[in-house]
């Protein structure tokens, strides 16, 4: 029983970080129909930037902010130079382009920071006892912070002027343009927001397992799975799917080893594609 509670907490914490990664990915997909295979690598780059800032200043919260801003700017530049010229081309072209960007970022990180794991120290010290286990407060703080950031994004999309621009463009690009919404700028902005979310997730996740130049792909894959399971481009669906899949993985880890538990998410992905290809958490389309 206590094991189930511990794993529930664990799953929720992982789910919140994953939800943050996935919400950036799904936002970009929803508006631009682009599967950004470099998303996880922007996360990794953000984590490295964060680690460097922590290394120099010792201030974790500053690192979180700097990483988000730096990667947002980088994301905007990437969109303008690489993806904007490809708008209207075969989707495969953009997939290959983001894949190429992913490789470039990985190799840059290897060249810049080397292959070793970098640590980011936990900004919130201390543990609390949960049954037989010492559970670090930091993980709780991470989940709460991720929740706050996602809520912030949601409020921005719901009530902000630019949020309405983004949603209008997602629904009907041509009509949005006719209403005077500068759609190319909206695309760049969304890409920057998605990148910032990825970078912030990287810094949040950093203390869990360290920062390596290969961590990106794993996140791209996991985020991609939950985006598909939640319904492509559906923000709420992606968030629910993140928590759902993470919880399932956590519970599976009770019976099998954690490495094998990852298989659960692939099983969910395959079952979703077979029986609900529009996504688990969207109303059945009429």
């Amino acid at each position: 029983m206590d094991q189930i509670l511990v794993q529930t907490l664990h799953g929720l914490v992982n789910g919140m970080v994953l939800a943050m990664v996935a919400s950036g990915l799904t936002l970009i997909f929803g508006i631009m129909d682009i599967v950004n295979f470099a998303h996880g690598d922007l996360l990794m780059l953000g984590a490295f930037v964060g680690a460097s800032v922590v290394g120099v200043t010792g201030n974790y919260w500053l690192a979180l902010l700097v990483a988000a801003v730096v990667i947002a700017i980088l994301g905007a530049l990437l969109q303008i130079t690489t993806l904007r010229p490809l708008i209207g081309r075969d989707p495969l072209t953009t997939i290959l382009a983001t894949f190429g960007v992913s490789l470039v970022i990985q190799k840059y990180a290897l060249w810049q920071w080397g292959p070793s794991v970098r640590r980011i120290n936990e900004p919130v010290p201390g543990d609390f006892t949960l049954f037989h286990l010492q559970y670090p407060w930091y993980r709780i703080a991470t989940a709460v912070l991720a929740g706050l950031i996602i809520t912030g994004l949601w409020l921005f999309l719901k009530y902000g002027k630019y949020g309405i621009w983004i949603r209008a463009t997602t629904q009907d690009r041509v009509m949005a343009q006719a209403m005077g919404i500068p759609v190319p700028l909206v695309y760049t902005g969304v890409f920057a927001i998605g990148s910032a979310m990825a970078a912030a997730s990287g810094v949040l996740f950093g203390p869990f397992a360290g920062v390596t130049q290969t961590m990106g792909f794993d996140f791209t894959l996991r985020a991609f799975i939950v985006v598909v399971v939640g319904g492509m481009g559906n923000l709420a669906g992606s968030i629910l799917a993140s928590i759902f899949v993470s919880l399932l993985e956590s519970y599976a880890a009770i019976v099998v080893s954690p490495a094998q538990a990852v298989i659960v998410s692939f099983v969910v992905l395959v079952l979703t594609m077979l029986f609900r290809p529009t996504g688990l958490f969207v109303p059945t389309p009429k």
């Binding site: 002027k161 309405i164 209008a168 009509m175 209403m179 005077g180």
Partner: protein
């Protein structure tokens, strides 16, 4: 104000518009009549930069529209109410209106005044302002599409078949709003199949057939001599 000079347009490889020339002067309501598929909607899309223009010139207040980005037309004062209405279905009525309201240099007081103005024209939109656009009836969506265009405070509205598929009561209301816009000095290029409504609302009328303008006359002349209408539209 808006001048099309022998405009040619293509959809893919098919040649849709053949040398269309149309002029709309400031504050004028101009009708564009013709059967289905003669290129009326494409003419509007050519103005909006959505149909591939292969020849001719389109100018607005003396400015060539070639090279103006699609989102720049709204700022120039051109609003488009498409045939399919293209309401942002998941946005609320108010949010739909805000897509045209949230522009640079507009004061909060001015925004509120504009909203109140369209709510006065279309009380139903005020009632439904927090409802998703996709849940409105066809007639209400048409009103929202027109109201949304009005948020831009345009100099001209390109109005594409606003009464198509609407109940007579709704048609009368749309007719009313066209008159009101005209009184406010907004020019309208009205594409319609509804001949009586067009002859009532418009000062001048162009009649299109097979991608070209075949006839041009004042509404008064056409009302006096319906033979032309009969010839091109069969009514």
């Amino acid at each position: 104000m808006l001048i099309l000079e022998s405009v040619d347009a293509h959809y893919g490889k098919s040649h849709v518009l053949h040398g269309v020339s149309i002029e709309v002067r400031a504050g004028e309501v101009v009708g564009l009549l013709g059967r289905n598929g003669v290129g009326k909607t494409t003419t509007l899309k050519a103005i909006m930069g959505m149909a591939r223009r292969t020849g001719g010139r389109i100018t607005f207040e003396g400015r060539d529209l070639q090279g103006v980005p699609p989102h720049g037309l709204a700022r120039l004062g051109i609003a488009w109410v498409p045939e399919e209405r293209r309401i942002f279905r998941l946005l609320t009525v108010l949010e739909n209106l805000r897509t045209g309201l949230d522009r640079p240099g507009i004061t909060p007081a001015h925004r509120d005044a504009l909203l109140e103005k369209v709510y006065a024209y279309f009380p139903i939109l005020k009632e439904r302002r927090h409802q998703a656009g996709g849940t409105l009836s066809g007639g209400e969506q048409q009103m929202l599409a027109i109201a949304r265009a009005m948020m831009l405070e345009p100099k001209i509205i390109l109005l594409d078949e606003p009464t198509e598929g609407l109940m007579p009561r709704m048609v009368a209301q749309i007719q009313e709003i066209v008159h009101a816009l005209h009184r406010d000095g907004v020019a309208i290029l009205l594409v319609e199949q509804n001949v009586p409504l067009t002859l009532d609302a418009a000062g001048r009328v162009y009649i299109m057939e097979k991608g070209a303008v075949r006839h041009h006359a004042s509404a008064v002349e056409l009302r006096a001599d319906p033979r032309v209408i009969h010839e091109y539209l069969g009514v």
